[in-house]
């Protein structure tokens, strides 16, 4: 079963049809989905970094959240619309994505994050004349290159914990609404998870919940402080979400506990 069949949140159109073969199969399974993820993460990180020039948390949360909602809907039929290495990891743990496909996705997602952050840097620096009131340095430096950072006084373990629990909510939402139930409103729910999480954790850790969102801007800005927190936290959150799903929450076919012949 291919990744694009398993994870796609597009509903109601699964009809028996002959499996594609040869180059078409390679294209549909190994080529287009990772490129789609590159594409989606690039747009997401660009949007996220530039939106961070808004000072109110609500606007930043809405921009990230609704961007995820639309990107999941746009790329859902192409790649499943993960847009996030932590989501891909959680879906692999949950048994709904092949490991090899997952690795491909994560590589392309990280590349997309770097590319999106580079575009954002370009727009916010050399895109301004140095004589304007907003000089070509201010804006990009003011937002610290869009790299998520711990707020003052937050301990490292707390940062890991908050990123973990927020990512848990996000990955659980992906697994339950898009992968498992394939609800028509799944992209909205996934976007809402990001939106809510940023309102909740934005003033603690920045609420990245996405290693590609932290890695790309970090590489482009050369700011690596606490980068590890934005990998360990989301990985732990995704691990618990994927595990809860696999053991307990999935429908019988994918569940480990109390499998049900009649289900």
């Amino acid at each position: 079963m291919s990744a694009i069949d398993e994870e796609t949140p597009s509903l109601g159109k699964s009809q028996a049809r002959p499996e594609p073969k040869g180059m078409v199969r390679v294209f549909l399974k190994y080529l287009r989905p990772p490129i789609g993820e590159f594409h989606a993460v690039c747009l997401f990180v660009f949007v996220g970094v530039v939106a961070s020039t808004n000072v109110d948390t609500l606007s930043v949360a809405v921009a990230h959240g609704l961007a995820i909602a639309l990107l999941v809907a746009v790329y859902g039929g192409i790649s499943g619309g993960h847009v996030n290495p932590a989501v891909t990891f959680g879906v692999v743990i949950g048994g709904r994505c092949e490991v090899f496909i997952g690795l491909l996705y994560i590589i392309f997602q990280l590349l997309g994050g770097v590319f999106g952050a580079a575009l954002a840097r370009m727009v916010l620096t050399v895109g301004y004349t140095s004589t304007g009131n907003v000089t070509n340095v201010d804006l990009y430096e003011a937002i610290g290159g869009g790299v998520p950072q711990l707020a003052e006084g937050v301990t490292a373990w707390n940062g890991v914990f908050v990123e973990a629990i927020l990512t848990f909510i996000l990955v659980l939402t992906v697994l339950m609404t898009a992968v498992d139930q394939q609800l028509s409103i799944a992209p909205l729910c996934i976007g809402f998870a990001v939106l809510v999480d940023i309102i909740v954790g934005g003033s603690i850790t920045g609420a990245a919940m996405n290693p590609a969102r932290s890695f790309g801007p970090a590489l482009v800005a050369g700011i690596w402080t606490n980068e590890w927190i934005y990998w360990i936290g989301p990985i732990l959150g995704a691990l618990f979400a994927g595990g809860s799903y696999r053991v307990f929450l999935a429908k019988s076919e994918y569940r480990i506990l109390f499998k049900d012949k009649s289900e």
Copy 2:
């Protein structure tokens, strides 16, 4: 008829299939749904208490409302996605949930509220170094432990009345959109009810509309002032909503007045 069949807002997939038996039936009916409710309320109260560190009512309303929307969608297929003892009470009154299942739910919801409030307290206190500008005491104390409180000058009976009418709107939305009509957008409507209610009542009673949302933080913070208001109000609101549904609004099968053979 099991709770998960009656209340689930997931649509369009009801096909005749053999009833599960033995341990699988116990798991699907008595074990997984209450644990799911524990899970959902824990995440909701964590999100709600930490989000209360935002000072603008709109952000707090959006965080609570959209969190409910996604949790209803995530746990809808597991437990019906009540996430609230008042909702469970209203659904029991409305004749769409067994009393025993309802009691189980409420116990697990209250436990979830305590656990979520404890996680939030941990994140907002010992997760900060005491030398930072935001000390490990400020944030949690500043929001009064996230316990809903009456605004200055609001009388107790007004608090009960406002909580009752706001909960009435919420429970009616659950009964009509998710339980009765099983609309695909039901989780969004339920989330909107919470969001709107907080904009309306946030500056009067805090708009808890959920005894687990008030009980958990109250126990963890040791603040019991007016706690009874956040039980009596929601119970009255749920009673009227469940009653209106049962007597008047439900489709014929579940309605008391003017039952219709042809419906």
Copy 3:
């Protein structure tokens, strides 16, 4: 054909079934729908007036808009979810609601508006102790009883024009998304129309677009300045929307121009 069959935005469940008869028919066609409209408008006006204590336009717009979204979803299967005499008038003009039913609706909607405004006044006045910082007079007087008013300098004809064009958008959305296409997201679109209209016209006319929203608070507060504007404007807007629909936009069955046998 009954009103509840014609206007309901609940989708995909229309199957041939015997028409109900006798008292059940009276209940389903002439009793429950108007009472549902009373119910819905009462909740809407209560929510709207109390939400007006928020000072930022965005919160007020979100509260009114999402309240309409959920009320349309909740009462859609009961009465079509008009929640507004202007909507009822537009749907009658559009040929999708019987005149007698429409008159019944409008009477009950106006009564609901009065009742909702009275509840809001009670909550905002006698619900506060006079010794608090917010006295029992301030809040209700500060919002002028929640009665929509022209901003300073706005001429009466401009008020009528703005109310007309905003109501046109609202009624057109109802007719095209709920009545004609019966989209699953219709309640959201209708709510968005109210939300957007308030951001647009809130600082000009208050963007009532609903005679029950202006009449109820006006009667309860005894403030009748410019009340006629909030009747003439919405009536004109609904007339144009209903007319555009009837003549031009409706599907062939209900359209006057270029009727299509094959459609």
Copy 4:
């Protein structure tokens, strides 16, 4: 195949039926769709210009975004709900709209933009008495006639680039969610694209992404500074989005690369 069949985002109702003929066909294919686009753009530009009197970016973004969401839903079944010459251009490039229909749409969209901007000017100027605190000149001049402008210091090529990438996101969303997958939530996703884009680019270029949104207000206000940027940027963005769709992202039937007989 007619434009209204190809592009409509209204779902699940495509059943074989006889093609309409004669005047009815002309009406349904060449008359009603362009007039619908005129209609929709007129309302959108009116809403957009008047909403610009709000000072916070979030309100302006929400007004534009949700207005697009509801207009796409309202006119989706009439014209496909483009509401934007750049969208029409992208859909033509993507091979999902005839060139002649596209040209018709663009002409009517531009006329709609002019008409909407004229209505907005009327409401914001002669609709105020000159003796009020807000005089009949202030409001319209304060928002520069609602014409999108580059922020201080932004270079022209950066303006083009930002408009291009934001329009790319918008047109891609239209092509993938409405045209290709015909998701029930497509109108919401398209609205979210506009909403997010304005939060992201509002403080750089104003985030018009729509030549009718810039042309109409520019003509009515007589402000032509940088107007070319709001044509070249969106055209480039739509070209890339339509091209990506055609070559790579479309389902096999409309895709150029790796066409799949079995798909």
